[in-house]
């Protein structure tokens, strides 16, 4: 029944903390399948239930409803120490009364591995995370980045089927974080272990993951590749949370034959219809004229031109409020007729022939396909 390539699966997980009036629904009917050898990321704002879901995989938390499957087998009844799943904790949770090497050896010792094998594995792990020089240090005497590596080595040493990482990089400074991101990717590649990674940093999620699950308010809103999540957000929240984007509100005028949709926007078009691509997979079953719709357009998919420009693509217009120079690119803030701001980002590599004047009316062009349709 189960596809063999699924490592971990959450099935209709609901988690309620507390009782009666004080009860809190931390997870609400969450279902997700994580594939073998995948770098899977749980992404969402603080308090959305990422840690709770992760702790359920590890066995520290029990679902109020639903099942957790490991390779197709229900592991709900297994305590954490019987699950071949290890965790890199957010605060690392290294044992302060043990050396670096002892920390890494701990899991292997608990599994009752022979001494020679433990020593060999610890050695290999120390090499893997480049901490050989620190092996006899007490864990309180190494830096944050080093602690992070030890925590990683400790969790990898018993060769778990799945590695859980709860915001392992959030305590590191920017440069070290970038380095560790690359290193984590390398380790995942080398070990072939399924990584389930938690972060609330969307950039981190986009650059590292094979697939991302975007969570909010105890639900999983969308699961997909970084490209999918960024370019084809399923919900307004996803589009908003990942990267910068513009929203254009309006209503459906006509559902054209094929894959086009005519939309009348509330602002920026003076009542003229524009045509956008229609994605039936991410739309309600019946789409009627007059139905409310939201378009989202990424800033880099739009372009600004002086008023009067023409195009086959949709055009909206507004007043150029602000031009912000960022070095590699320039941001144009255009105020539409409903006072909302539409941001256009253009690379500075192309030299513009025309001159845009602040506080003048401008046209914004974007391609039909780059506008994503979202429904309420």
């Amino acid at each position: 029944m189960q596809s063999p390539s699924i490592a971990v699966e959450a099935k209709n997980i609901t988690k309620v903390f507390g009782h009666g009036k004080q009860h809190f629904r931390a997870l609400n009917d969450v279902s997700v399948s994580i594939r073998e050898n995948e770098f899977f990321t749980l992404l969402g704002p603080s308090g959305c239930g990422k840690t709770t879901l992760l702790r359920m995989f590890a066995g520290f938390e029990h679902p109020t409803q639903g099942a957790i499957l490991l390779h197709g087998k229900d592991i709900a009844h297994l305590p954490p120490f019987q699950r071949p799943i290890n965790t890199v904790f957010q605060n690392y949770a290294l044992f302060p009364h043990m050396t670096v090497a002892k920390n890494i050896a701990f899991g292997l010792e608990m599994l009752g591995k022979p001494k020679a094998e433990i020593e060999e594995t610890v050695d290999r792990m120390l090499d893997l995370v480049q901490m050989q020089a620190m092996r006899d240090r007490v864990t309180s005497q190494i830096s944050g980045g080093q602690q992070q590596r030890v925590a990683l080595a400790r969790a990898l040493a018993p060769s778990p089927k799945v590695l859980l990482l709860d915001e392992p990089l959030s305590a590191l400074d920017y440069k070290l974080r970038k380095e560790m991101q690359i290193e984590l990717k390398r380790l995942q590649h080398e070990t072939g272990i399924t990584f389930i990674f938690v972060t609330h940093d969307q950039e981190e999620a986009l650059t590292m993951s094979d697939r991302i699950a975007v969570m909010s308010g105890g639900r999983i809103l969308q699961v997909g590749s970084p490209h999918d999540i960024y370019e084809r957000p399923a919900e307004r929240f996803v589009a908003d949370f990942i990267g910068e984007t513009n929203f254009l509100e309006g209503k459906v005028s006509v559902l054209e034959e094929g894959d086009r949709l005519s939309v009348t926007l509330d602002a920026g078009t003076e009542g003229k219809q524009i045509q956008v691509a229609f994605d039936p997979q991410n739309s309600p079953e019946t789409v009627q004229a007059g139905q409310r719709i939201t378009l989202t357009v990424r800033p880099e998919h739009a372009q600004v031109f002086p008023i009067g420009s023409t195009s086959d693509d949709p055009i909206i217009s507004g007043k150029l409020e602000n031009i912000v120079y960022f070095g590699t690119d320039t941001h144009y803030h255009v105020k539409l007729s409903d006072n909302s701001i539409f941001i256009v980002r253009q690379q500075n590599s192309q030299i513009r022939g025309d001159v845009l004047v602040q506080n003048e009316m401008v046209n914004i062009h974007f391609s039909m396909d780059s506008a994503r349709t979202l429904w309420d």
Binding site: A58, G59, F60, P79, P80, F81, Q82, I85, N86, T87, F89, N91, A93, L94, F95, P96, H97, F106, G107, M110, L111, V138, S140, Q141, R154, A155, P158
Partner: protein, 311 residues
């Protein structure tokens, strides 16, 4: 002389000297209390232990003798004046040591789960539990000990109940046994074990416990490999706090052990009272203090070692 003051003048500017002086003045009350209440009496006791005993108690001042110290461990035969081991004293030393160690171990055994239980309650209920633990301190020790007597004596609650139910035909002798002393002392000193244990368990980072479970450690292994090493300072503190007063306990052994089952505290008391042998009493007291001091040195060494590990 002058060069010496010159040197200090060069090292310390005037305001620093004033500061140092101020510090001495501020600590004067504390120092005088320590002198008067602790060091002074100990010195007097040390002096008395080397003097000849007075006929009706006290000592013959400035008549020195080692009799007090010799009598701690040896006794003179009544007939031929030869020295033999003071069996009675050694028995009492041994009983005191044994009962104190047993008390400490029992308090640890009961205190550890209790402290763990309290430390794992929700935050707002923890204070209530700690409060409950300290309630016995509110009643006088004497009263509490009499209460225990009332419970375990031959016509006490336990025996009467058992007799009434018909489980036993004649009362079980519980009062005036070593077991009674042990029970009483564990009861009295348990809070002294629970409180430091609770403090260190409460500080324990339970995420480390979770990390242990995550790394395949069973509950027992987590206890042995993670929890116990990390709360060791609290365990040592609790053991010292229980062991020291147990060794010198007086009221509990007196009331629950009767006359026969003396402990060091009672032995000392009797030398200053009916025994009228102040030098011997002083010598035993100092011996007791030395025992306590060794225990403390043991504690300090262990504490600093584990402290260094935690860095």
């Amino acid at each position: 002389m002058t060069t010496k003051t010159d040197v200090t003048n060069n090292e310390l500017p005037p305001y620093r000297k004033r500061e140092a002086l101020n510090r001495w003045i501020i600590s004067l009350p504390a120092l005088s209390i320590i002198m008067l209440a602790a060091i002074g009496p100990i010195l007097i006791m040390l002096l008395y232990s080397f003097m000849v005993k007075g006929d009706y108690g006290g000592v013959k001042l400035w008549e020195f003798s080692f009799d007090g110290w010799i009598n701690v461990f040896f006794q003179r035969d009544i007939f031929d004046e030869t020295l033999g081991l003071a069996d009675a004293h050694l028995t009492i030393f041994w009983r005191s040591l044994k009962l104190s160690i047993l008390t400490t171990l029992a308090a640890l055994a009961f205190g550890l789960p209790t402290a763990y239980f309290i430390a794992t309650r929700p935050k707002h209920t923890r204070e209530i539990w700690v409060f409950l633990i300290t309630i016995p301190f509110w009643a006088n020790l004497l009263i509490r000990t009499f209460a225990i007597q009332e419970v375990i004596r031959n016509e006490g609650i336990i025996n009467n109940t058992l007799l009434a139910i018909g489980i036993i035909d004649s009362p079980i002798q519980m009062l005036y046994t070593d077991g009674a002393i042990l029970f009483g002392m564990v009861y009295v000193y348990l809070p002294l074990m629970v409180l430091p244990l609770y403090a260190s368990i409460e500080k324990l980072d339970f995420r480390l416990v979770e990390a242990g479970y995550d790394l395949y450690a069973t509950r027992l292994k987590v206890l042995r490999r993670i929890i116990l090493p990390m709360i060791k300072p609290g365990m040592i503190a609790g053991c010292i706090l229980v062991f020291i007063p147990s060794l010198g306990a007086y009221v509990t052994p007196r009331l629950l052990g009767g006359g026969k089952n003396m402990m060091l505290g009672n032995l000392i008391e009797s030398q200053f009272g009916a025994g009228r042998n102040w030098p011997l009493g002083s010598a035993i007291s100092i011996t007791l203090m030395l025992l306590v001091m060794f225990a403390l040195i043991f504690y300090v060494r262990n504490a600093t070692r584990s402290g260094a590990n935690h860095g």
